[in-house]
């Protein structure tokens, strides 16, 4: 954690809350946004900064599925919604198609570390199903051709 990050935590995150502990989710989000995942060392550092035990930070990290705790992901993390509305609109075909295009299975990362493919529960975008999320962005109303275009741009 560099000085700038520490400063941001102390000035932008901690003052929002009544307790330092409340800042842990946002702090972990900030650190993860810089490197894609969280290591044991990151969590120890966050714990020390916020007056928590490392196991407490780790428990938070393991509970919330968006924290990549000791689980490096590729530069682009592709998450395909597997819930009902997306499934009804062909979400599984989208998932299979991406597997084919990237040559990996769900849960894997390409050997060049560029793409990680996962499934995810409902993304709250069911009216524009099927939906995938790549890093922070949603891609909606997908079909195979659109998926090819999107991946083509990222390659």
């Amino acid at each position: 954690m560099d000085e700038k990050t520490r400063k941001e935590i102390e000035e932008k995150i901690v003052p929002k809350y009544r307790t330092r502990r409340s800042a842990c989710m946002a702090t972990m989000q900030l650190v993860q946004s810089q490197k894609g995942h969280l290591t044991k060392e990151d969590m120890e550092e966050i714990a020390a900064l916020l007056g928590m035990q490392p196991v407490e930070v780790e428990a938070v990290g393991k509970f919330y599925t968006m924290y990549n705790v000791e689980r490096p992901v590729g530069r682009y993390h592709i998450q395909v919604c597997e819930n009902l509305s997306c499934s009804l609109m062909g979400g599984e075909h989208i998932l299979k198609h991406i597997e084919r295009l990237l040559g990996i299975k769900t849960g894997e990362t390409t050997s060049d570390k560029k793409f990680t493919l996962s499934t995810v529960q409902c993304l709250g975008s069911c009216g524009t199903a099927p939906v995938i999320q790549i890093n922070d962005d949603y891609y909606e109303n997908l079909n195979e051709k659109k998926v090819e275009e999107i991946l083509g741009k990222l390659r």
Binding site: M89, Q121, Q133, D137
Partner: protein, 417 residues
């Protein structure tokens, strides 16, 4: 009906404060700041507004439980929107963030909260950014912060991002999450109105609930109460997804019949196929079939037929849908999202998923349907929070109406459709 919640949906630039102000934005807040908090609570009671997060609890009544003299109180806006089939709050936050912020300010003033948190699910990065920008704009114009519009009332609004946990939509799990813990529900009582965030009196309201407030103040409680059924009035956003020609968000009077929503507003079933089943309010709500389509979409009418309005997320399934697969997807969701705090839900949802999965994969055994039914009986009513019951209600709904499809799957090792 004139739209109040989605009037700016899809409009470019509508999210800025200038655009909001040009449409009469923040007038309701100005009006409210000159009123007694009790009178605002009475107005919201008179409007008949009931919570849009799922449970339909009367909003004014909830506010009235907050002790008046407590020095420190909180408002939490529930923007976790995780119930599969639900995508309405995102529509408000992305296109009309100031509508929500004004609603938050009105509610905070009414209950005497000086801090409000918007708990938004982590995946909604764009909406969170929009909200944050809108909050900054509202501070600049003096609608938030110290001594708002010179009235002596101060309010800070913060965005707190979740990070992937459906259970954090449950109000006490949401509080745990803001406090920096795993999002597991708390024991009730004490209810949040007495001991909520940091042990202080707290109101938790859904995005859509709070977004109704500016219109109630501007147009009056009677106006709101005159829309839809007497006991659950007001405008309501229905999110329609699945096999319809025009999926999307529709703001309609509460109590609009399901048939009208599906066939008039959402354009009917795609390819003119037949409807097989419809989930009226997110996957926790037991599904309905053709004969039930004339049911008015409001809290009481759906409860009467054994389902629920929930979030108003309508998922439509046509005749090509395999109900075993649909049930599997729903059970997979619940077992994935069970927070693990209590055994009946943690173990129970895992078993429900496993058994429905083996039926779906053609490995079902004779007696599996009965096994599912008895498992449901062992879970229902024994879980710490409503998530476990929700899983059972959803599965029982499918089993009740499509049992023969499960039997067919077990015997023929494939779908009936």
């Amino acid at each position: 009906m004139e739209k109040v919640l989605l009037k700016n949906f899809g409009k470019e630039g509508a999210h800025t404060i200038d655009s909001y102000l040009s449409g009469g934005g923040y007038e309701a807040l100005k009006k409210v700041l000159g009123m007694e908090p009790e009178d605002i609570i009475q107005m919201v009671k008179d409007s008949g507004l009931r919570g849009r997060g799922g449970a339909g609890f009367p909003t004014g009544l909830k506010w009235s439980f907050i002790p008046k003299d407590a020095p420190e109180k909180y408002l939490c806006c529930n923007a976790d929107e995780g119930e599969p089939g639900t995508f309405k709050d995102r529509g408000i936050m992305e296109y009309d963030p100031h509508l929500l912020i004004e609603g938050i300010a009105i509610a905070s003033y009414a209950i005497g909260a000086q801090k409000a948190y918007i708990y938004i699910r982590g995946e909604f990065v764009f909406a969170a950014r929009r909200l944050q920008e809108a909050i900054m704009e509202a501070y600049e114009k003096g609608f938030l912060g110290e001594n708002i519009l010179g009235t002596g009332f101060s309010l800070d609004v913060y965005v707190h991002r979740g990070f992937g946990a459906y259970i954090c939509g449950e109000e006490t799990a949401l509080l745990e999450s803001i406090e920096g813990y795993r999002g597991q529900p708390r024991k009730k009582p004490p209810f949040p109105a007495l001991s909520g965030l940091y042990g202080k009196p707290t109101v938790i309201n859904n995005v859509e609930t709070l977004s109704c407030l500016p219109a109630i103040v501007n147009k009056g409680a009677e106006w709101f109460a005159s829309i839809g059924p007497e006991k659950s009035p007001g405008p309501k956003i229905f999110g329609v997804s699945g096999h319809v020609k025009k999926p999307g968000l529709y703001e309609l009077p509460m109590g609009t019949p399901l048939r009208e929503i599906i066939y008039e507003h959402a354009g009917g079933i795609r390819d003119n196929r037949k409807l097989k089943a419809v989930i009226p309010g997110g996957v926790s709500a037991p599904l309905l079939t053709e004969e039930e389509l004339d049911t008015p979409m409001d809290f009481d009418s759906l409860a009467k037929i054994g389902s629920m309005l929930g979030s108003g997320g309508v998922i439509v399934m046509d005749e090509t849908t395999c109900m075993v697969k649909a049930a599997y997807i729903i059970m997979r969701f619940f077992s994935h999202e069970s927070c693990g705090k209590c055994t009946p839900c943690r173990e129970g949802t895992t078993w429900l998923k496993k058994i429905v999965q083996r039926i779906e994969y053609g490995k079902g055994r004779q007696g599996d349907v009965e096994l599912l039914e008895s498992l449901c009986g062992n879970i229902f009513g024994r879980t710490f929070c409503p998530l476990g019951d929700g899983a059972v209600m959803a599965l029982r709904g499918v089993l009740k109406k499509f049992k023969e499809e499960f039997q067919y799957h077990i015997e023929h090792k494939r779908c009936m459709v």
